[in-house]
């Protein structure tokens, strides 16, 4: 019995220590990256262009590239994700094989490695769709769409983030009480009207959370854009959909491994990592907060 008591105490303590270890490493990473880049985090760094072979200057094009990437990505992934969630939750027969297959597809999609999405983007968007478009629209021998660019990178990223949107929208659709659905239908509204006027407005929180989470994910992933559009250095911002772009995550990767002077640019690397971390961090913070508030509202 004595031993058992120790065992009991031991389990509680060890498991508490595990939690502490995770949170400590979270804080340690944040602190480490902040203290490494602190001296470089100036307004000029955020709004400036890289200079002197990327050993000086700022990261403005990388920030703009990342923002454009997630914007174009959201245009594609938010509607698709939301509609799929609505189908799965409102229309589909939960027991049918078809629904199960779609659900399995969504789960599988969220487990596909991001590098495979990159290969897919290259094989499908660039080599198949892009090259096909060039055959139709461009002059012979001219490559316009059949090469890495911001559009294909965004589309690749959109496919990666669809499951994120679906999960979060579905979660909020489930919290819409069935009374509301029944009420809408009882008042003579059709199914689509009920969904449009009652269910979607009531689950706008979920759509919002899903969008924010997807953006956070898209901003941080690098593997899918390695060969679908990210560029090492561009003196200009992307001006059209067929341009390549700079990206915060990719910038960290190339600066840490391929920059012309790894040691001298360490501060820039830390500061870039900090900027990216703050972006994804605050996005998921907002998402968690929105969800939390929403749950509180449901409870009361």
């Amino acid at each position: 019995m004595m031993n058992n008591k120790f065992l009991g105490k031991g389990i509680v303590i060890i498991s508490a220590l595990s939690v502490a270890a995770i949170i400590a490493s979270l804080i340690f990473i944040l602190f480490e990256i902040y203290s490494g880049g602190r001296d470089y985090l100036t307004w000029e760094f955020i709004t400036g262009y890289p200079k002197e072979g990327m050993t000086e200057g700022g990261i403005f094009p990388a920030i703009v590239g990342t923002v454009l990437l997630v914007l174009i990505m959201s245009v594609a992934c938010v509607p698709i994700g939301t509609i799929t969630a609505i189908y799965l939750n409102e229309y589909a027969n939960k027991k049918s094989i078809l629904t199960k297959i779609i659900r399995f597809g969504v789960n599988t999609l969220s487990g596909v490695p991001s590098i495979v999405f990159g290969l897919f983007g290259l094989g499908f968007f660039i080599q198949f769709v892009g090259t096909g478009m060039d055959k139709v629209f461009s002059e012979p021998g001219q490559l316009q769409w059949g090469q890495p660019n911001i559009l294909w990178a965004s589309m690749t990223m959109a496919f990666l983030t669809i499951p994120v949107v679906i999960v979060s929208v579905e979660e909020s659709l489930k919290t819409v009480p069935d009374d509301l659905r029944a009420g809408g239908l009882a008042l003579g509204a059709t199914k689509w009207q009920t969904i449009r006027k009652i269910i979607i407005p009531n689950s706008i929180n979920g759509i919002l959370t899903g969008t924010i989470l997807a953006i956070g994910r898209g901003a941080g992933e690098v593997a899918p854009i390695l060969f679908t559009g990210a560029a090492y250095f561009l003196p200009n911002l992307p001006g059209k959909l067929t341009d390549q772009f700079m990206n915060l995550g990719y910038h960290i990767y190339v600066m840490a491994t391929q920059s012309t002077d790894v040691e001298a640019t360490k501060g820039i690397q830390y500061a870039t990592a900090f900027v990216l971390l703050i972006c994804t961090f605050s996005l998921s913070f907002i998402a968690i907060f929105v969800r939390y508030r929403f749950r509180q509202k449901i409870k009361s």
Partner: protein, 274 residues
């Protein structure tokens, strides 16, 4: 919600139709990024209305991009291979245009505390093929040799393999790093390390003097030794184009070969072709 979606769509559309100035894309060797980027910066500051996009990734990347039609100019730290010319010919019916733009001594890096001062080509080969694994076998301390090299896409990797290893495979223990600067950085941090790369990147490391064979004198990769051919592993750096340059590209290439362009070559640690 609708308004937001509408606004985003409008923005995306507007963004799609926004045009910009003439762009020259340059892609390829990491060894050359350091110089290509300075060329681009200087050239753009002197000439408005032209944009030069410089990307690294390796000579293989650049040549692949040239073949795939995704770049105008390719930087290469090795000559194009016949198989690549063949592919270029299939796609564009041209064998490409080669421009020699700089000369480089391929240097072997050691950590500053390493006692070894000179190595023969044979010793370097033995280290990189895994025959020699301890520094004491080549006159150093008794400790394991940590071998660093470049990713197999880089021209430096291929050039070194062809001309130093005589075509033999690298040892599997070689850690491949994606950039020359990363190799330098790794050698700085690791006192038992050996690495190779362009002379321009060297900072905080020391060069080994290289001997052609065991009995010949050793030479450091200095401008003089490379110019008169004493240093045994020197190479050209190239630009490749699909066709004879015209218009803006011709102006740019001519500028690189001009005195001004070649001054930048010396400034970053390579040697001018003329």
């Amino acid at each position: 919600m609708k308004k937001i979606i509408f606004a985003v769509v409008i923005m995306a559309a507007a963004f799609g139709f926004y045009m910009q100035s003439k762009v020259i894309t340059v892609k390829g060797s990491d060894t050359m990024v350091i110089v290509a980027q300075r060329w681009a910066e200087k050239y753009m500051s002197e000439k408005s209305g032209i944009t030069i996009q410089v990307t690294g990734g390796g000579s293989g990347t650049g040549i692949a991009a040239l073949i795939n039609g995704t770049t105008d100019i390719c930087n290469a730290s090795r000559p194009m291979k016949p198989s690549e010319r063949e592919k270029l010919k299939q796609r564009f019916n041209t064998l490409g245009v080669e421009v020699k733009v700089a000369k480089d001594g391929l240097s072997v890096y050691l950590n500053e505390v390493n006692q070894v001062k000179e190595l023969s080509l044979q010793q370097i080969k033995d280290i990189y093929t895994g025959k020699v694994t301890n520094w004491k076998e080549v006159g150093g301390k008794d400790s394991r040799i940590i071998v660093y090299g470049r990713e197999n896409s880089s021209g430096t990797y291929v050039y070194f393999k062809d001309n130093v290893l005589n075509g033999a495979d690298y040892t599997a223990t070689m850690q491949s790093l994606p950039g020359t600067a990363a190799v330098v950085n790794a050698v700085v941090k690791d006192k038992n390390a050996i690495g190779f790369g362009g002379a321009a990147y060297a900072k905080g490391i020391k060069f080994t003097a290289v001997k052609k064979d065991a009995n010949s004198p050793a030479f450091l990769p200095t401008e003089e030794n490379i110019k008169n051919g004493n240093y045994p592993i020197a190479r050209y750096l190239y630009l490749y184009l699909r066709n004879k340059p015209t218009g803006e590209i011709k102006e740019y290439v001519d500028w690189i070969l001009s005195k001004e362009g070649q001054e930048i070559v010396s400034k970053v640690g390579y040697f001018p072709v003329k």
